[in-house]
């Protein structure tokens, strides 16, 4: 469990970090909280020659809320997301989901940026950000650009981020309506067997807006557009919930692992989706 040798850099601004990234190309990697990166380095599953620590760059830390606009710096830790009262008021689902990530030790160091940039389908925040229709701000040698969370993920550990780009911040509008993030896992500190997030609004007994996303049920997070199409404008009853759940499960494509075979995961996906829907509706 010893990584191969690397050089360590700790730039104090984003320009320096980007210039290091473009100098070293794919031999370089940024490190945020290290709780996804260090384990793979220790197992020598990845060989990184240059490690660029982002923890000295203050401009990409912190939570900013202006009106309904929320912007979170990439280097904001999960525990900061949990403890921020204003964020909780505007988007309570962030706390609900973050508290289901790993354990307190991991959350003290793990960052939102690392969690969403990593591209690990087991991470909870990519699904959460798709649920919130968040926008990622990326900065690289070719300048700054915005990418929708729903368009960021291409496959397990593959994203549209260029090698020299750094995720700067994540922004989204404060959601309205009922919400829930449901996750089944084997124990504290485990990734999801299946997890689902739901945000929806019911007006005059009709579903007026909805968003549903899944975690660890495919090689990327799953935004359930088909299910959303089904529920929008409909009266909420058991029948429609079953249809919505089925549509979500149809879009999932889990792989077997020690948590269980595909059949089980799809079944449990249905359960957590239904639970999330029910709880979100209760909260509208």
């Amino acid at each position: 469990m010893i990584p191969s040798a690397f050089t360590f850099y700790k730039p104090d601004n984003i320009e320096k970090a980007i210039s290091l990234m473009s100098d070293f190309g794919d031999e370089a990697r940024v490190i945020a909280g290290g709780h996804s990166l260090i384990p793979v380095m220790k197992q020598r599953l990845t060989d990184i020659k240059h490690l660029i620590d982002l923890s000295g760059i203050n401009e990409i830390k912190g939570i900013e809320i202006t009106g309904n606009q929320i912007s979170i710096g990439a280097m904001t830790t999960q525990v900061e997301l949990i403890n921020n009262e204003e964020l909780f008021k505007k988007a309570p689902i962030i706390r609900e989901a973050s508290l289901q990530i790993a354990d307190p030790q991991v959350r003290n160091l793990g960052t939102i940026g690392g969690n969403v940039a990593n591209g690990d389908p087991a991470n909870d925040m990519p699904g959460l950000m798709q649920l919130l229709d968040a926008t990622y701000k990326l900065s690289g040698s070719n300048g700054v650009r915005d990418v929708k969370a729903r368009e960021f993920y291409e496959g397990a550990y593959f994203t549209v981020r260029e090698d020299d780009e750094i995720l700067i911040s994540i922004s989204f509008d404060a959601p309205s309506g009922g919400y829930a993030y449901e996750k089944q896992k084997r124990k504290i500190g485990d990734y999801a067997t299946a997890a689902a997030g739901v945000i929806l609004k019911v007006e005059n007994n009709m579903c007026s807006s909805a968003s549903i996303a899944l975690t660890n049920l495919s090689d990327t997070p799953v935004y359930c557009n088909k299910a959303v199409d089904i529920i929008l404008g409909k009266e909420i009853d058991n029948n429609i919930l079953t249809q919505v759940t089925e549509a979500c499960v149809d879009q999932s494509d889990p792989v077997a692992d020690q948590r269980g075979p595909v059949e089980f995961k799809k079944y449990v996906a249905g359960i957590v989706i239904k639970k999330a829907l029910t709880r979100a509706i209760e909260r509208t």
Partner: protein, 807 residues
């Protein structure tokens, strides 16, 4: 005399913190402050590090090992392969089970993670880089991971070194992948009883492969002093003296020139009994380089290659009358030993004490056969917090009881009660040949049933079942019962030895002039709290406060010879030696007191911390006074000093027992189980320290929870380990750990000097069946008879699915 100031007898007694006191653990001050001294804390001048190149595949011929790139790396000093060890005869080593094991791959590898080469370098970093540069050419061979396929005619032969040997260490071998057949009991008679029985239940019970996974992994520091020829090895050894003798036998270094030291050990659970290639390679590397070598495995190494536990397929038949009186028991076990038979059992018991599988029941006739086989998995088969295979045996009988109750349509609590060995039957000789020392199973069972309000639980369960059937709930309730009997404290030298070393143990005591003392034992604590509890035994025996007694273990140059700590043997064996040595001290103290008080020995009586003159209690000599006198008085016929040593050969094993109840609620859709209640009643005979007992029970129950509900070493068909990290190998956190209610009855062992039986392993032994039985019990109304552990979410979900509960 001032009466107020004279402490009463009770006060003097409580000042000793002796037997029965919940004395705080003296070890904890250093452990909780990070001041423990573990193997990895040992740093010697000039020390180098070693680590292994391990096989990525489960079965292959090793065609070539190219070490030049590694050797060219700055900081790498040496790379050892089997070829380097062969001239010393150390490329293979004997196992404790009478087999032999490769130290480094000799022509082939037999399991994933097997040690192939040992790289020595300046520090862990250089070594890790060196390891990654050793190139090994493998020619892959077909893999067998299923013990039932291992004995097929065309199965690949794993152990080519012994392929033609028809006789193994434990008798005839019928196939190149077969290790032994071990039998106990009466085959024909049992067959006959089963044939003629009114009711027979027949089931295959699998106790899956798991792993002790101590918090501290295995490791050592070997230091060969070439000037004086002395080899010192600090290591994670549960049996330091046995390691010294084995090291001397295989290295031909004279035994007096070997010093084995077990420093603080961070949990063992059987994982640290055996001898591992890492120890041998470190010793050889120290001899070769002339400097100390440290090797400490990482978590993945430990889970992948260091000794596993269980992996027993137990086919059982149990017969009874229609009224539920058990008439016979039959068991055939297929034991998956992995690539080498490296079990750590007493030599004459290749399947350990599996023949305790008649459990707590008066079963007139029984037969057991165990077949050991080789597969392409890591070697081991150690006693994970149990006496050799006792957990397997206990799980087997407690499942068979449940299956039989189902067949009889009888409540399993009642079935147990009907068949318990009765109090008046002790000492009781079981059908498979053990002499149970003492017990009052009915008393324990009734207390347990009353404490949990068993009747009410069954009513609650019936209500929950009705809600489920009515479609109002997706949850079922399960009540898991278990009554276990262990066999611990190995053991009598007449039938228990390891590689010819009798399994006695020893204690040596020295009383200092000012009345404090040091005691040394042949055991070694790995968290059990020996320094606390053995001092308590002594305090009661010799009247010196426990806090004035230093307890030392683990250094073979200073401790008396003993067989170490595992199989709950420390209290039954070394604890007895401690009491006996204390009694020798007291006998001499009595002579000294008689001299000082100018009376005859027989005129004195022992009174807590002193000898006083019979009928004149104001005339006395305290142990403190006697101790000083032993150093400054010339007493005719009595040697100066106050010391004693006792080597204790136990006349019998001890038989701790207990009654456990687990209540859980199971969600049939998610497979998630919610543990509502865990009640554990233990009878470990005399209770030395109730607080430590409770701690031991909590720890063991948590392991039992882990094992039954998720913990496993899983392989795929290619022999890849699927559970190589703690992400997949289940260790419960505080979050997953339920509340525990502990309780007790106290039936002293009649043959142990203080009546103690040992408790450290009971909760693992009794707990696994209780948790597993609760899962089974929840699904019993739908006809489930057997579902193999671990009962993790998907396997529980699968039970529900197969029973048609998912509509």
């Amino acid at each position: 005399m001032d009466d107020v100031k004279t402490p009463s007898r009770e006060e003097r007694k409580s000042a000793l913190s002796g037997l029965g006191t919940s004395r705080k653990r003296v070890e904890d001050a250093r452990f909780t402050q990070g001041k423990g001294n573990y193997v990895d804390d040992i740093k010697l001048k000039g020390m180098l590090f070693g680590d292994f190149v391990r096989s990525p595949v489960a079965h292959a011929r090793v065609k070539n090992i190219e070490t030049s790139a590694a050797l060219a790396l700055p900081g790498v000093h040496a790379v050892l392969t089997a070829a380097d060890l062969e001239p010393l005869g150390l490329h293979w080593m004997p196992t404790l089970a009478g087999d032999k094991q490769m130290v480094l791959a000799d022509g082939k590898v037999l399991f994933q993670g097997q040690e192939v080469a040992f790289v020595v370098g300046d520090d862990r970093y250089a070594v890790a880089d060196g390891v990654s540069l050793v190139e090994v050419e493998y020619e892959e061979l077909p893999v067998v991971t299923d013990p039932f396929k291992a004995e097929l005619k065309d199965a690949p032969i794993l152990r080519e070194d012994i392929a033609d040997q028809k006789e193994g260490a434990h008798g005839a071998r019928r196939h190149p992948n077969h290790i032994f057949t071990w039998e106990a009991g009466e085959k024909e008679e049992t067959d006959k009883v089963l044939e003629e029985a009114e009711v027979v239940a027949d089931e295959m019970v699998y106790y899956h492969r798991t792993h002790p996974c101590p918090l501290e992994t295995c490791g050592c520091v070997a230091s060969m002093d070439k000037v004086n020829g002395k080899l010192t090895v600090w290591g994670t050894f549960q049996a330091p003296h046995a390691v010294r003798t084995v090291a001397s036998l295989i290295s031909s270094i004279p035994e007096h020139n070997i010093r084995i030291i077990s420093p603080d050990i961070g949990g063992g659970f059987g994982n640290k009994v055996g001898v591992y290639p890492g120890y041998v390679c470190s010793i050889v590397a120290s001899i070769v380089t002339g400097v100390p070598i440290k090797w400490v495995e990482d978590r993945m190494d430990n889970l992948m290659a260091t000794a596993f536990a269980r992996d027993y397929w137990m086919h059982g038949k149990i017969s009874a009358t229609k009224e539920g009186k058990i008439t016979g028991l039959w068991c055939h076990t297929t034991a998956d030993h992995g690539a080498f038979d490296a079990c750590a059992d007493p030599t004459k018991f290749p399947a350990g004490f599996m023949n305790i599988c008649t459990g707590s029941y008066d079963i007139p006739v029984a037969y057991l056969a165990v077949d050991g086989v080789y597969t392409n998995k890591a070697p081991g088969g150690v006693a994970y917090r149990c006496s050799f295979r006792v957990t397997e045996a206990s799980y087997f009988i407690e499942r068979m009881i449940e299956v039989l109750a189902q067949k009889l349509g009888m409540d399993s609590a009642e079935l147990r009660s009907k068949n318990f060995i009765k109090k008046e039957q002790f000492p009781y000789t079981s059908a498979l040949g053990w002499e149970y020392d003492s017990g009052d199973y009915h008393q324990a069972w009734e207390k347990a049933m009353k404490s949990v309000n068993y009747k009410q639980l069954r009513e609650d369960q019936a209500k929950q079942l009705q809600l489920f059937k009515d479609g109002k709930s997706r949850k079922l309730m399960g009540i898991g019962l278990s009554h276990f009997t262990e066999i611990v404290g190995a053991g009598p030298v007449k039938n228990c030895d390891i590689l010819g070393l009798g399994m006695f143990d020893a204690c040596e005591i020295r009383i200092h002039p000012t009345g404090s003392a040091i005691a040394r034992l042949g055991t070694i604590s790995q968290g059990q709290g020996h320094a606390t509890t053995f001092a308590q035994i002594l305090a009661s025996e010799i009247g010196i406060p426990a806090s004035d007694i230093t307890l030392e273990e683990g250094d073979t140059d200073t401790a008396p010879y003993g067989l170490g700590t595992y199989g709950s043997r420390s209290t039954p064996v070394a604890g007895a030696a401690t009491a006996m040595a204390g009694r020798k001290i007291r006998a001499k103290a009595q002579m000294i007191a008689a001299y000082l008080l100018e009376v005859h020995d027989d005129d004195l009586e022992w009174d807590v911390d002193r000898f006083s003159v019979k009928g004149a209690p104001e005339k006395f000599k305290t142990m403190k006074e006697i101790a000083f006198a032993s150093y400054n008085q010339a007493i005719p016929g009595v040697e100066p000093g106050l010391e004693a040593v006792s080597y204790y050969d136990p006349p019998n094993m001890t038989y701790p027992n207990g009654a456990y109840v687990v209540v859980m609620e199971i969600d049939v859709d998610t497979g998630v189980s919610d543990i509502k209640q865990v009640y554990a009643l233990d009878d470990c005979g005399t209770r030395i320290n109730p607080m430590i007992i409770e701690g031991q029970v909590h720890g063991g129950l948590t392991e039992a929870l882990a094992i039954s509900m998720g913990q496993e070493i899983a392989y795929d068909e290619q022999g890849n380990v699927m559970t190589g990290t703690l992400m997949d190998f289940f260790i419960p956190t505080a979050w997953e750990t339920p509340n525990y209610e502990t309780d007790y009855t106290e039936t002293p062992s009649p043959h142990h000097p203080i009546g103690a039986k040992g408790v450290g392993e009971s909760p693992n032994v009794g707990g696994v069946s209780a948790f597993s039985n609760a899962v089974h019990d929840a699904f019993k109304p739908f006809g489930l008879t057997q579902a193999h552990m671990p009962h993790d979410h998907w396997r529980v979900w699968k039970i529900a699915k197969d029973l048609g509960l998912h509509s």
